[in-house]
Amino acid sequence: MTQLPSPDAHGLAETATIAVPVPPDGLTLYRLLEHQTPSEHDFEPKLSRNQAKLRGVPELFRGSISHWLERTQAVRASERSICFVVQLELPPDSLLRVAMTEQLGRGHVDVWAHPQELLGAVVDVVRDRKRP
């Protein structure tokens, strides 16, 4: 299970963000894909600075993208009846930074990284059917 620090465990407000490097043992995360074959596009933050401001996204999170600790959590976040979920094995000692942001859902993790680095961490893609 995750070794990522949570704001609650440190006596901080739920909305606090603790961004840390990937733990020494690495970290397994899951993310929804557009298609079955992952591409850099799947790991690219989409919002410009002005779009983020106008949409009310804090500047901190303009450059992060959503991941999940468990595959089922990712699947449930999709509106599609059939979705594609990628499994990533994130290595320690990288430029990656991660933060538990569970005010957005159980197991939700924001990740800051170069898209190429995330694409290189892909180990599996699963086609999954959403269950009611």
Partner: protein, 73 residues
């Protein structure tokens, strides 16, 4: 976590945009983005989470509630 919430998110990758207390507020946030030309219909949806943080359901803005654009992208 503690309380249920409605998360506006990008439809494909579920990248989050904002967190709201009510369904109506979340829908209104998407409608405003569409109206202002900052989003296309279907680009964003809403993920409802319960007080434990688990996803209850994901839904889009009903077609009848999609506003016409008035702004410039």
């Amino acid at each position: 976590m503690g309380v249920s919430a409605f998360i506006v998110q990008e439809s494909i990758h579920a990248d989050w945009v904002s967190r709201h207390e009510t369904r109506e507020d979340a829908i209104a946030a998407i409608q405003e983005m569409i109206r202002e030309g900052l989003a296309e219909p279907g680009e964003f949806n809403v993920r409802e989470i319960d007080d434990g943080g688990d996803t209850v359901r994901v839904f889009g803005v009903p077609d009848a509630e999609v506003p016409a654009k008035t702004g410039v992208a």
